[in-house]
Symmetry: D2
């Protein structure tokens, strides 16, 4: 087993997908131990650290990477299996942020209101008890919420020579902000450029559906990822797989288009996996499909379309790479 550990120095952090040189080369089959900073670059540490004061645009939502995957070429699929995602600190933060979030005027949904108040919440992270503790700012109210660590941002370099801010989710991945991206999940990303150039960041101790205020329980993470490459198989939009489900994603505006992309991909993928004709697959997904909301606050919104593998009959998903990576992950952790 080949293991690669990497912890970026501040100046090695990336703020785009595309447009950067690789920080390291990774061979398929490698287990990676990665450190990722939180979306504020670790600068928001107390309730007095207002992000608009301590952070500087566009140096937000840093990712660890990009990594050049040996042998990856356009038309291939990169598989990243998340073995472990562990909060790296005993605290985390969340904030409102001027002109960001679903229930506020933004630069896109532009209105004449003054911004909502900028406010920071600091959570205690207790890994032993597996909780994050919420503390109200204007009262003594406090409540423990179960941790469910995930990465908001994972992606590869985009097609068409684009470079995109890490905050933007699209066909290359990016800031999808779906709680489905937790340990035990394999993410499939279509390769657009030689080496794939993937990056990971934006760890969340937990996140509500849609990340309605714009930020989750933002936490630096120690994350273990198993990397594999599937040659000659293209993937149109990021997909995921866990032991029980296949998942497609879509990122767009308006939100129904994110829904359409994800459901369209799940229908056509189901058709491929089962041999069902398209309308028969449409029907099956219509009754048995789930649609977890990713983000409804970023520059594109994200929806996930999810189907239990039990309903697909006997079929093989991406050459069974999920099972192999899961086994590799188990070997690593044991």
């Amino acid at each position: 087993m080949s293991v690669l550990s990497y912890r970026p120095s501040p100046e090695e952090l990336s703020y785009t997908f595309g447009g950067r040189q690789a920080v390291a080369e990774v061979r398929p089959g490698t287990i990676m131990e990665l450190y990722t900073e939180d979306c504020f670059g670790g600068r928001v540490r107390t309730v007095d650290d207002l992000p608009s004061r301590v952070c500087e645009f566009p140096f937000l939502n840093p990712v660890t990477g990009p990594f050049h995957v040996t042998g990856a070429e356009p038309g291939d699929t990169l598989a990243l299996h998340f073995v472990k995602i562990t909060p790296a600190r005993d605290w985390a933060v969340s904030t409102t942020f001027p002109h960001f979030g679903a229930l506020t005027t933004t630069h896109t949904t532009a209105m004449l209101h003054a911004p909502l108040e900028e406010r920071v919440w600091r959570y205690d992270i207790d890994l032993d008890r597996n909780v994050a503790v919420y503390h109200a700012r204007k009262s003594d109210f406090s409540v423990e919420l179960p941790l469910d660590p995930m990465h908001g941002t994972v992606g590869v370099a985009p097609a068409a020579n684009e470079a995109r801010m890490t905050i933007t989710p699209d066909a290359h991945g990016g800031n999808m902000d779906t709680p489905e991206l937790r340990a035990g999940v394999t993410v499939y990303l279509g390769v657009n450029v030689e080496g794939a150039m993937f990056s990971i960041g934006d760890g969340h101790g937990l996140q509500g559906h849609g990340e309605v205020c714009g930020t989750a329980v933002e936490s630096a993470m120690n994350t273990v990822v198993a990397v594999e490459l599937i040659k000659g198989v293209a993937t149109p939009w990021p997909r995921m797989e866990d032991d029980l489900h296949v998942m497609s994603t879509g990122s767009a505006r308006p939100l129904e288009d994110a829904y359409r992309i994800s459901q369209h991909d799940l229908v056509t993928w189901t058709s491929e996996l089962t041999g069902l004709d398209t309308l028969d697959a449409y029907q099956l997904v219509s009754q048995a499909g789930q649609a977890p909301v990713g983000n409804v606050c970023d520059t594109n919104y994200t929806m996930v379309a999810k189907l239990p593998k039990a309903y697909l009959g006997a079929t093989t998903v991406y050459e069974s790479v999920h099972a192999r990576l899961r086994a590799a992950g188990s070997a690593y952790t044991s």
Copy 2:
């Protein structure tokens, strides 16, 4: 315990919320045993019964009602607790329908494509084994899906002297098509007219998230509902409560506005229930809130915002009517 049984004759079915006389008077505290027809009025019985041939616009999505609730006035809240929802036949149907569904041109998302093929699927319903059996139309593929019976449509007469087709969800309820509306759930509806004038229909043996093809596993239902009235308490959008969660809904286009409405209502409701200031409630919902998709195919789309009651501290929801109706339902069924 007062029990009212009602089974509409075909000519008693309603196709709008508002604009109709009551079919019966109901006193708060009543248990109702209702029969509801499926969304096709029971006319689609075989795979050869194409809905565009056997059904006639606007006689689609019939509801049972409206019921006049004794004493209900604008500004009150009607509470409907679903005690039991039982498929009434050993079969159910689903279909594509020209210009209806999320992955097809519609009269609203108007395009130049010919309609998708109209096709009917007939499901076997097995109550003993609690499954609906899907059969592909173009192959031998078949799979059992677990039943999770629900009502797609529940609502009251709208405000402002409007009458709306039952297919449309809005602030008065209507065709929200959320799988959350299953047995064990109490629905809260703001009363807009004297008597509330509520109706129920559109039973689904089960439904995927978003009802992507436009129809679910459509089934006539035998449904038991406990009715209560909360005087002097207004409810801006339909809300729900089960033993573990409070839920708000929003219905609008685009889908992000349905999300916004539902999350806005959940945030302000959470603030009321906990005494948290608005931004503190926004933060709590942002991390602990769920957002199950209702429909993404009707004339308005529907989202649900859902929060575990465990995170609200000691609080009382709608004068604890859910607990009382749940007890009444248990007394009825035992």
Copy 3:
């Protein structure tokens, strides 16, 4: 020439399309002299009359009607030619209104901001000089704007036994708020119920594109309309015609769907009028078509699709009813 004059008393005003009895019977071929109140029912008369205080929901946007057109049946088309639209007072008003407008949180685009300030502007209307005079409220700035009188609201009773608030534009017409609906224009409305049951209201001395703050230069109007009926010809969405153009409308959310509906209708209508196949008509409209924005602030948004008749070759639009009504209007005014 048959002339019918009608001025509603306050209690005769209507607030819905559908759900009301006719105020009068009108025979095709009649010239109608109508008085319409402004959208505030004439209650906002000074800058101190805040609409949220002097008006009461749902008694907003009153219309004059409904009128029962002799012989009109579902499947016919009602033609209303606007001969004259004349402001009835030497003042008019415009306002911001809490939760209404394009650059503010609304009940649908729900956000956590406090409402924008409610403010009233009073315009001087000078018919001789054909101007409305804008006066800033917080400074001495003043400017004359050319009058371009129009009706924001015109429609018939909706299909499917619906009744809709007059504020809502949809396939039956309603509050489309397009400046294209000025004198000299013939509006075509598909008849959904026996008698058509049309109403008119919401006069604007002038209006910007999209009515961005939610209200225009709101004015009572003395309006002359020539009424005709086209038997056996259906019209899917409101259409308009002036001496030089044919126009289709669409009303929906999001705004691109309003655009799609209007352009789709113009493309298929162009195909009918010219004999061009659908894609050839699509191409012609793509290069020569205009797309004036109607409203971007109401419960549905409205777009107009507009094409010079000069590009259609020799063709006859709606049996040349526009030319006949124009001539009838000229005879009336001379």
Copy 4:
């Protein structure tokens, strides 16, 4: 007068804003004579040249540039005055394109329909008579349309180290596809990177509003541009000015957000230019503002907000650079 002529070789064409080296240095005050290729790179020349066969993604919508403007720094504004835009050939083309356009399923508004037929129309361009001649493909129908030459694409390198496909309009400009961008207009673009790095392309002999089928009358152009730099003045979204109007733009999805951005910018800009408080400016724009539709087919949609300068009182726009560049253009052409 300094004049710079530049005609790119095929390999010098650019397909992104950002991410490329400059093709030339330009000093403020220069008049540029530029050749731009059409959006198909000149490869679609007959009705048999289907773009999906003769073009290759992502080599679509080439632009001429980027040009490095001497002294331009982030926070400045680049002013480009279009002196002349002249079709370079006596023919032009337009096409449908699979999964592109407003009335078809796309990769974003993903549906299960087969693509619409791909078809090419070839227009005759007659500069003497100032017309483009449309020829139907499936009949003998033909019609002359007046030329109104414009550039669909103009922009600078984006902020935040992004590189974007030229097809995408956003705050940096890009493929806004507005017919307002014709000769006589000055475009103002906020500078994001040292040198501004602007490019121009996508000439249209004429274009309907929204470019509904996805392409206009696509033509190579000989274009004369006067370049100026406004130091220390930032511009949030592309703006335009002609002799009679100021204009703001917004590009986003859904279309109402493009409208909101453009109107918001026009309101705040009007407030700056006149000294009106924000709500007074909101009111003035609401009544006197226009809203020409840009594109409703690209990856973001574009709206323009437009106000006659006559209503602004005595004020100076961008240090009167439009008047100076217009004079320089006149000097050049005379």
